[in-house]
């Protein structure tokens, strides 16, 4: 009897310890953290680990890390209208042919190690960038003929081979973050920049520690330091915020998690209409070469419901490749293929794409219409693909979804091994969509969807030489309409970025340009 009693007590004790272990007992109090850090205010930030590097010369994602983490700054920075604003450069001049640009480096700017930022230092940084063997491809943004620095006048003169409508925007791209090349020993894990925070310790795949840049030129740095933790799973990020492990997280990509935080008054959630477009590329070297089939695919997809209900507003629905919040005349565009299932069916019937064998799937020239849809689990794209799969089935089109990782998806897309391919792309990375629109320029190397329209090509070539902003906008609007009329791409909508914070911090906002996460706007709550 005694034995049995003891075993029951032991079992209860074990169960209790399990339950205690599962509870939120590990909630960390920020004041405790402060005392552990000698009374210092430390910002704890959870973010996705895109790459373990902050070297802009390494790869694009590393360059983005550099500016996102508040380490590096460029000569200019984008405002929320994606216009270039002065940053390390305060004034500039441009020649009439748009090939000679002179930038004056702001006086009094220092790197985080106390070294002055001079024109020569900027030139050295750019020269290193071009010499790097990484995949950042700075030459894509700056076709440089020569560079001359004059420290006496504090100006940097850049001569380019190509005329740029506005080179400031290209130089605001994170790849051109200005670093102290002379004194940086480890660019990947300890690049020295001019931003509000400087790296003290970098642990790959785990996190990064920062201290405030005591020489910061643009006001006081609100925190004494920052602890960045890499958390790749969106739900884990949410739970880290809820348990107090972090005070701030970027881009919660699961709608349920985002809504949980939105509904809880203990957290601040800000979302912004970003400049990313979520779309499905249509490969025209295959079944989808058929115009009626493509048009029917577009008409069968209920973009509004997918974006607003299925993904709970993660995307703002739209039908053009450029986001509606940008100034490219979205409101004047006409969509002839709006959601209309009956019309889609009629269109297919008229085109002779019918289900002749009664298996529920239509045939095109005797071949069942079964589309190979490749996608990856990022920013709701896999869920969107499943939604599209269901909607296409309604009109008798079968799809086989292959969910893979980002790299494989890219390789399959480049090699043309797909009918439909999910994507979520930045449209105006340099404040201008020229590079992005090259994806449908048939003579370019970036056209992986085998789209061809002579008029589009002609307009794109005009865009390359058009320097006038209004003229460019008009050309871009016309090009968008051509893509819409040709049913060239299945656009879902425009991704809304988010920043979520606990009440321990204030001022955490997400900007239109996805390059600035940690800024001096984020302060400790009073």
């Amino acid at each position: 009897m005694k034995k049995r009693f003891m075993s029951i007590v032991t079992a209860l004790a074990i169960s209790a310890s399990f339950i205690t272990g599962c509870s939120k007992g590990d909630k960390v109090d920020s004041t405790m953290q402060s005392s552990e850090n000698g009374g210092k205010q430390i910002l704890k930030f959870g973010c996705f680990d895109y790459v373990d590097s902050i070297d802009p010369g390494n790869m694009i994602n590393a360059a983005w890390n550099c500016t996102r983490f508040g380490v590096g700054e460029c000569l200019f920075r984008f405002n929320d209208a994606m216009e270039a604003e002065p940053c390390l450069c305060d004034t500039y001049e441009v020649s009439s042919d748009h090939k000679t640009w002179t930038f004056h480096i702001r006086d009094g700017v220092k790197f985080s190690n106390g070294e002055d930022v001079t024109a020569q230092k900027v030139a050295d940084c750019y020269e290193r960038l071009f010499a790097c063997e990484g995949s950042s491809t700075p030459e894509k943004f700056l076709d440089c003929a020569s560079m001359a620095a004059d420290d006496a006048s504090g100006s940097l003169t850049i001569k380019t081979n190509t005329a740029y409508p506005d080179l400031r925007k290209n130089l605001a791209y994170p790849v051109f973050a200005v670093l102290d090349v002379e004194n940086t020993k480890n660019f990947d894990e300890g690049a020295i920049g001019t931003g509000p925070y400087a790296v003290t310790e970098f642990e790959a795949a785990v996190g990064v520690d920062f201290k405030a840049n005591q020489y910061y030129w643009n006001g006081e740095v609100p925190f004494d330091g920052m602890e960045l933790k890499f958390i790749n799973d969106s739900s884990a990020k949410t739970m880290a915020l809820q348990s107090g492990q972090v005070d701030l997280v970027e881009n919660i990509t699961e709608v349920s998690d985002l809504n949980t935080l939105k509904e809880d008054k203990s957290y601040d959630v800000t979302t912004a209409n970003g400049v990313r477009c979520g779309f499905t590329s249509i490969n025209q070297d295959g079944l989808l070469k058929n115009d009626a089939l493509r048009q029917a695919v577009l008409m069968a997809v209920d973009t509004d419901t997918l974006c607003n209900v299925t993904l709970g507003g993660l995307y703002t629905p739209g039908f053009s490749v450029l986001p509606s919040n940008l100034n490219y005349h979205y409101d004047e565009l006409n969509n002839p293929y709006a959601y209309d299932v009956e019309k889609a069916k009629q269109l297919l019937d008229t085109a002779g794409i019918v289900d002749s064998d009664g298996d529920g799937i239509r045939e095109l020239d005797g071949t069942p219409v079964k589309l190979n849809y490749i996608t990856y689990d990022n920013r709701g794209l896999a869920t969107l693909a499943e939604g599209v799969q269901h909607l296409l089935k309604e009109i008798g089109i079968d799809t086989a979804i292959h969910t893979t990782d980002g790299d494989t998806l890219w390789n399959l897309t480049v090699s043309g091994e797909y009918d439909l391919s999910s994507g979520n792309w930045t449209t105006v990375g340099t404040g201008d969509p020229q590079e992005y629109l090259a994806n449908w320029y048939s003579k370019g190397t970036a056209n992986y969807c085998n789209y061809k329209n002579e008029k589009y090509d002609e307009l794109y070539e005009k865009l390359l030489t058009e320097m006038d902003e209004a003229g460019r906008t008009a050309l871009i609007a016309e090009m968008q309409q051509i893509l819409i009329d040709d049913a060239a791409v299945l656009v879902h909508g425009y991704y809304n970025s988010s920043m979520c914070s606990s009440k321990k911090v204030k001022g955490a906002v997400i900007h239109t340009a996805d390059y600035y996460w940690i800024t001096t706007e984020i302060k400790p709550a009073e």
């Binding site: 739900s235 699961e254 998690d257 809504n259 939604g387 269901h390 909607l391």
Partner: protein, 274 residues
């Protein structure tokens, strides 16, 4: 003693009935779901909590979770039974051959089996499923590939035990053909143990296959597979818990029934005593 025997049979019968009920639920899924499809989505009805219309609620694409759980039994059971059948047949055959013939054949089969055992099973299954492409068929192949060794080793040791028995030697001396000896003496000697092992393995195979699907290496969307459903429900754990609770419960109950069925079958066949 008599009473214990009666209880043994009662327990076995109870779990056999439960297992048959589960199989019947899978077979008659369309009837149980009243015509609701597990893959048809009603996008506007996303993430509805359980109610009289949707007993287990709906998922992110507005699909009925009850229908998906019931239809899920089809994929889960057929895949798990397929794995068990493959590893049972393959393992038994190779084990008997190795145990009976010995020599080079024994060395080759058993060293290969040792090689397989030296890898962590699930990791190897992930590698196989990953290389051959994600699908439930490849998941079945992957799990079979890493799980047959247990049967081979068991069959080999059982055969080795009786290989030199007098009655086997007598059969050899009497001029019996090898095929006759293998099927008449060796197979019956190993079958009871292996059948019990197979019955208890159904549960663990369901878990392994669900694990692969959860990780994205098994069933692919929109298939209603329990592991895949758990993964789809994971992001909604805090707001729509029914997406994880019901597929999880289904796995728990089915694995429980098949594990108990295996155990009670062992008691009935009294393998340990042998």
């Amino acid at each position: 003693m008599k009473r214990f025997k009666a209880t043994k049979y009662a327990v076995f019968l109870t779990f056999a009935v439960c297992a048959i009920l589960i199989i019947l639920a899978a077979v008659f899924a369309p009837v149980l779901c009243a015509g609701k499809s597990p893959v048809d989505a009603e996008l506007a009805d996303a993430l509805l909590p359980p109610d009289s219309h949707h007993w287990f609620g709906t998922d992110q694409l507005g699909r009925d979770v009850f229908a998906r759980v019931i239809y899920g039994a089809r994929i889960t059971l057929s895949a798990a039974l397929a794995v068990v059948a493959i590893i049972f047949v393959l393992g038994t055959l190779l084990g008997i051959l190795a145990g009976y013939f010995g020599g080079i054949m024994d060395a080759v089969i058993m060293r290969f089996s040792d090689m397989m055992v030296s890898f962590p099973g699930m990791v190897l299954a992930i590698a196989v499923a990953g290389i051959s492409g994600a699908s439930i068929k490849n998941a079945v192949i992957a799990v079979s590939f890493v799980s047959w060794t247990k049967y081979a080793r068991l069959a080999r040791s059982l055969v080795a035990k009786i290989r030199h028995s007098d009655y086997v030697q007598a059969a050899v001396v009497a001029g019996s053909r090898q095929w006759y000896i293998l099927t008449r003496y060796m197979l019956p000697a190993v079958l009871p143990t292996l059948v019990v092992t197979a019955a208890t393995d159904i549960g663990s195979m369901i878990l392994e296959l669900a694990g692969l699907s959860f990780l994205g290496f098994g069933a692919q969307p929109p298939a209603p597979e329990w592991g895949l459903m758990l993964n789809e429900g994971r992001p909604h754990m805090q707001t729509a818990s029914w997406l994880m609770v019901f597929p999880g419960l289904a796995i728990f109950l089915v694995v429980l029934v098949f594990n108990f069925l295996g155990d009670s079958l062992r008691d009935v066949l009294d393998v340990r005593k042998e």
